[in-house]
């Protein structure tokens, strides 16, 4: 249900469907483990002796296949990732815009992400952050990799106690603690970027973010007030270089959408192209939003151990099925012997034996 809605939406934004193969060379993932977040990959030896993997990710396959020409592609695929101690098949759909990523491309992708959340129904929030702004602060305060990683971890959990701990340990100074605490408090409509971030960043540092806010206000319409600046959404700066997105829907406790600008991934793969995209986690969406069935069939029609009763029951079943109902037709003796009887919406009907038709 949600898959079709999202695919139609992606196509309305000019994306075309792209199908990847279920298996990929293991090397593709081995060389980009940080991008995958989880380094456990379901791998096997193929018949030709090569090491293959059940795809844990679609983005890497698309970037691998991309040449220098721009592409706007969408996919609805299964990926295979560890979940609860075992590998699981996870359904997701998403978009990748590969090519020259300019301000308009970023704004359009953000609007598409907001519309994707809207398509799922209910209240939603699209959180955005700018990883390059965080990098600006790391440079300003001359933080090394270890301190930067710990600051990112503290920001991701809005953990001011952790920031205080970094200051006590001498990894960051008091001035930087104050700035990062202020950054962790930010949760404002992105159209108010200048006001929300003006105390933290210099005007020239904010130019791109403010420009983005302006572009978004111009093309997002009413959706713009559901898009919030939130620097608790962070990711590896080895791959993501700017805009980063995460989407939430009320009633679903986990994020259902994530993505951003990840020029550093194609760069690491030796390609001179930019890239921006996001994925929607369909399994999570359906787990919480799909209407739960409370019965298996609309009606059950049973017949006595009698040929005429069976015929009358079959005719009745046909009538109800022609009306679009789901009908279970069965001999009463068999039904009584069933261990797990299907739950019926309506009362079970028994067609007795003998008598007139």
């Amino acid at each position: 249900m949600f898959e079709r809605k999202l695919c139609d939406l992606f196509e309305s934004f000019g994306y075309r469907e792209y199908k990847t193969s279920r298996f990929e060379s293991y090397d593709l993932y081995a060389g980009n483990r940080d991008f995958l977040k989880n380094d456990r990959i379901a791998a096997f030896t193929d018949l030709d002796g090569s090491l293959k993997a059940l795809k844990p990710d679609v983005t890497l396959s698309i970037i691998k296949a991309s040449e220098s020409a721009p592409e706007k592609l969408y996919y609805c695929e299964s990926v295979y990732r560890p979940k609860d101690g075992t590998f699981a098949e996870i359904r997701q759909c998403g978009v990748e815009h590969v090519g020259r990523i300019d301000a308009a491309a970023r704004a359009e992708l953000t609007v598409l992400a907001a519309r994707s959340l809207k398509a799922l129904g209910g209240r939603y929030v699209l959180s955005v952050s700018f990883l390059d702004l965080i990098e600006t602060l790391f440079s300003r305060f001359d933080l090394d990799q270890a301190a930067g990683d710990k600051v990112l971890s503290a920001l991701s959990s809005k953990n001011k106690t952790a920031l205080a701990g970094l200051r006590s340990a001498g990894m960051i100074g008091a001035d930087s603690e104050e700035v990062f605490c202020a950054l962790s408090d930010v949760f404002a409509p992105v159209t108010e970027a200048a006001e929300a971030l003006g105390e933290i960043f210099a005007p020239d540092e904010l130019r791109e973010a403010v420009g983005f806010a302006g572009d978004l206000a111009a093309c997002a319409g009413a959706d713009a007030d559901r898009i919030f600046l939130d620097f608790s959404i962070v990711n590896s700066m080895d791959y993501y270089n700017g805009l980063y997105l995460q989407g939430s829907v009320e009633g679903i406790p986990f994020p259902v959408l994530s993505g951003g600008e990840y020029d550093r991934l194609p760069e690491r793969m030796g390609k001179k192209i930019g890239a921006v995209g996001f994925a929607v986690y369909l399994d999570t969406v359906e787990s919480y939003l799909a209407r739960r069935k409370s019965y298996a069939v609309d009606r059950v029609i049973l017949y006595a151990d009698d040929e005429r009763a069976a015929l009358r029951a079959a005719q009745a079943a046909l009538t109800f099925r022609d009306r679009g109902q789901k009908v279970l037709l069965m001999a009463k003796k068999e039904y009584d012997a069933m261990k797990n009887r299907p739950v019926s919406r309506d009362v079970v009907t028994v067609v007795p034996g003998g008598g007139d038709d």
Partner: protein, 208 residues
């Protein structure tokens, strides 16, 4: 309405008293009985009593918007939640403990008994020390006494249990206290109410 998961036991009672002082009282909660959920409509809160090690699960999965969990539980389970406030209660520390004459022979893997394998592994990885983890569920202190392990990684409060069993603290590496955690999605849709809880608790916490 904000759903708050409280850990059953002494810590939960202490934290509740802070919340009550902050204006989120629910007197019914203190009455003896087996009831597990308590609501104060006027204050806009509903409380649940849950097993301390399950608070993170309830909050991460959105069954509770907010919860209180010890830093030891948070570090061990690593839930993807916001950690909004150190409540300053339930203070203790995660330590390496062992016999007073313990000598770390680095030519072999160190055998470590613990209820907290993730914390123990991370601690020794940061020191580049190879270890063999023995996961136990209780009475950790007897492990080195019986030769099951060389050392233990466990919570230490006053240290009396260690002393009574002839053990000493060898390394104190993680300060622990109760933390207010929040589901990330809940925060985005209930920011004002959650910020209100944090703002009301903060002045009381600095007094701890």
């Amino acid at each position: 309405m904000i759903d708050i998961a409280l850990p059953k036991g002494r810590l939960g009672q202490t934290v509740y008293s802070l919340l009550a002082q902050a204006g989120y009282e629910c007197p019914e909660l203190l009455e003896p009985g087996r009831k597990l959920t308590f609501t104060n409509e006027a204050a806009g809160v509903r409380y649940f009593w849950v097993k301390p090690s399950d608070v993170c699960v309830y909050v991460e999965r959105g069954a509770a918007d907010v919860g209180v969990a010890g830093k030891d539980i948070i570090e061990e389970h690593a839930p993807d939640v916001y950690e909004l406030l150190d409540l300053g209660v339930g203070r203790c520390a995660m330590c390496v403990a062992g016999p007073s004459d313990f000598y770390d022979d680095t030519e072999r893997a160190l055998r470590v008994a613990t209820k907290f394998p993730r914390i123990a592994r991370a601690h020794y990885e940061s020191r580049g020390r190879d270890i063999d983890i023995i996961k136990l569920h209780g009475s950790i202190e007897i492990a080195p006494i019986l030769g099951l392990s060389d050392v233990i990684v466990d919570i230490v409060e006053t240290g009396s249990t260690l002393r009574e069993n002839g053990l000493v603290v060898l390394d104190r590496f993680l300060e622990i206290s109760a933390r207010l955690i929040c589901n990330k999605t809940s925060y985005r849709f209930n920011k004002a109410q959650v910020d209100g809880v944090v703002a009301s608790l903060s002045p009381l916490v600095t007094q701890q």
